[in-house]
């Protein structure tokens, strides 16, 4: 490396020494036939098409570099990094509790899984895994399974939309909306919840929350039946999805592909069963699989997983009815000092807590201040925690140096890993099948790039 480094800029120059003389085209919509004519006139045998990073069918800012021969894809590469926001680095400069507000923004379609994985890892480092109240674990399971439903609905809905089936999209998003209302009711936010905290959850389910969730699940199931009727016997979907994006079990294992993609190849591998957390071993549910190992099998698996998640949600709601108790560990050195409450000016610290710290107990005020500004200390060491994310196995690697902030936080995002399969899924197929194959991976670029 030379001593004078170039100033960083967002993307490399398109024109440099290596690309001089190579004709390039920029498609801006409606001009495809002109480009095709010009390309045919030039008679180039090798044509490389950039699909994305701004393309409605690539699930966000994914860039696909396709080498094509007519309509056949001969080589496919995925380029990522367009949504890299340095969340892992940022987490090293915030307290352990504040880390939740960062990691929830990684995979924004399934935020509660990052929160849960991160908090379970922090609890493992603190050695308080068994002290987390049962009610908090039940609420975590409920929230995660609701989130799994919304995430799978987004996958099915956008996957259908990319094939031109807008009704699948509207139906999926309508069902998802019911659950987002429940998220707002319970956590206060539709996304980026920061609801699961080290030691428990931020606040208990509000009065009437359990009933509202029960009612919402009825509606969700109603919409889901309609979606299933619309999709599962649809001859167009069968023709577009069957046999497309094939990846067998050996390929999945070699590429570290987990989640619905792995289960569509026939292996019932699910972290909720193999290494249970949050008490998943006590819930009654099945791990659906398919044997086709293609995009259609993944739709079948996701559809069935939504039903299994509904089943778990109902069990969790029943348990919430009969399990009272706190939703945060009893250890006041770790538990967030205040509970949230709704006041006349919106949500904030409960008035009872404010009254205590401001009016009656100076020690309580000092304690609140220290825990909020400094945070708690976590004994030195490292921990690895995996949870079953809607897209596969999410791994959280945390290192503590005994301080109030993570020394290193790494998230093994399942979509980051699964995108490696893009080439093997797409090569040899048609360009139109690339859209189907990528949709069957269901990548969320916020999680991929972090």
């Amino acid at each position: 490396m030379s001593t004078t480094r170039p100033a960083p800029h967002s993307t490399g120059h398109i024109v440099d020494d290596e690309t001089v003389g190579i004709p390039s085209f920029e498609a801006s919509g409606g001009d495809w036939s002109d480009i095709a004519e010009e390309a045919a006139r030039l008679g180039e045998e090798r044509i490389v098409v950039n699909m994305g990073p701004q393309h409605p069918s690539t699930h966000g800012v994914l860039r696909l570099m396709l080498e094509i021969d007519g309509e056949t894809v001969t080589e496919a590469r995925a380029g990522i990094g367009y949504l890299h926001t340095g969340i892992e680095k940022n987490m090293e400069f915030r307290t352990w509790t504040q880390g939740v507000t960062f990691c929830t923004r990684m995979d924004y379609v399934a935020p509660l899984f990052q929160e849960a994985g991160y908090c379970l890892a922090v609890e493992k480092l603190l050695g308080i895994t068994d002290d987390v109240p049962e009610r908090a674990s039940i609420i975590r399971v409920l929230m995660m399974e609701l989130n799994r439903i919304t995430s799978h609905l987004v996958c099915l809905a956008t996957g259908g939309n990319e094939l031109g089936a807008t009704t699948i999209m509207t139906q999926g998003f309508t069902a998802r909306e019911e659950i987002l209302k429940i998220f707002e009711l319970i956590s206060g936010l539709r996304m980026n919840h920061a609801y699961i905290r080290p030691g428990g959850v931020a606040q208990d389910v509000p009065t009437g929350g359990v009933e509202a969730t029960r009612e919402a699940l009825v509606k969700v199931e109603h919409y889901l039946r309609q979606l299933e009727d619309l999709m599962m016997a649809n001859p167009i979907l069968h023709l577009r999805l069957k046999g497309v994006g094939h990846l067998n079990l050996a390929g999945c294992m070699a590429l570290g592909v987990t989640g619905p993609m792995l289960r569509s190849a026939g292996l019932p591998y699910d972290v909720r069963k193999t290494a249970p957390y949050c008490g998943y071993e006590t819930y009654d549910f099945d791990v659906p699989t398919a044997s086709t190992a293609d995009a259609w099998g993944r739709v079948e698996v996701r559809m069935e997983e939504i039903y299994q998640s509904l089943k778990i949600c109902r069990q969790a709601l029943d348990r919430l009815d009969r399990t009272p108790g706190p939703v945060m560990v009893a250890d006041k050195k770790i538990a967030w000092p205040a509970q949230l409450a709704i006041g006349s000016d919106g949500m904030g610290n409960s008035l009872a807590h404010i009254k205590e710290i401001m009016g009656t107990s100076m020690e309580a005020l000092i304690h609140h201040f220290k825990l909020v500004t400094e945070g708690f200390r976590v004994p030195a060491g490292q921990a690895w925690q995996t949870v079953e994310h809607p897209r596969g196995e999410l791994g959280v690697h945390l290192v503590s140096d005994g301080g109030t902030r993570p020394y290193r936080a790494h998230f093994r995002d399942p979509s980051f890993n699964n995108l490696q399969a893009t080439s093997i899924l797409c090569e040899g197929g048609q360009i139109a099948d690339v859209v189907v194959a990528v949709a069957s991976i269901d990548p969320v670029l916020g999680g991929v790039d972090r």
């Binding site: 480094r5 170039p6 960083p8 800029h9 967002s10 993307t11 490399g12 990522i80 990094g81 890299h84 340095g86 892992e88 680095k89 940022n90 090293e92 400069f93 915030r94 493992k124 480092l125 050695g127 294992m253 070699a254 590429l255 570290g256 592909v257 987990t258 292996l267 591998y269 193999t274 290494a275 500004t373 400094e374 945070g375 200390r377 030195a380 060491g381 490292q382 921990a383 690895w384 995996t386 196995e393 791994g395 690697h397 290192v399 140096d401 005994g402 301080g403 109030t404 902030r405 020394y407 290193r408 790494h410 093994r412 980051f416 890993n417 995108l419 490696q420 790039d449 972090r450």
Partner: protein, 261 residues
Amino acid sequence: MSDEKKDAAKAVAPGTGATAQSTTEVALEAGAQGGPEVARTPLDVVDVRQGLFGAHDSGDTSGYGGLVTTIVMPGPSERPYGGWFDEVVDVLAELLDESGTGYANAVESVVVDRGELTVNVVREHVVEVAQHLRDDQDLRFELSLGVSGVHYPHDEGRELHAVYHLTSVTHSRTLRLEVAVPETDPHLPSTTSVYPANDWHERETYDFFGLVFDGHPGLARIEMPDDWPGHPQRKDYPLGGIPVEYKGASIPPADQRRSYS
């Protein structure tokens, strides 16, 4: 900051430095694992902190400034490790001895902490260890969940760590391989020949930490632009950020705010 830590780590290294005698004793006591004194391994000191409250930018207003705390990473464990850990290490040792590499040459130490098994491997043999872990029928760690890096600037000669997370679907087990390399020579062999899944993970670790995985099919940056200078996740790389004006007050960026450790 990192210089401070380096000094501290030197000061508490066993048998050196008479100036920090009290610290050395504290550290040795903290690191004593019940083994014989001669076999004592150097402590993996992360930090030596003064005072009770973790604040660095103010004077000793509390009177607790004289307190010294040595932060040590969990050290090597003694047998028995417990559970299936012994079996896995035994099988691995047998395989490494059979192949002529030798267990002692390949594995630096075994750490059991918080119910997790970490095997510290010498970089030359990481591919062979991974191969055995994947292929032997009693080990069968078929699924690699990727590589992550950690930068310990104070850990002289072993600044950069690559951490591999392996899972056995067959036996429902998880373990961690850890390889430490110096910052001045950040090379280690690529494991993509054993676990193709590590392709992008190694690219990411290269991108963020500058660990060079020799033999990787295309070790290019993956998250940052190709011409980006530096490796952003290293501890000496600044977080960046600008002060934010809010209602007349200026709020400094996160890495320049008052912080506690």
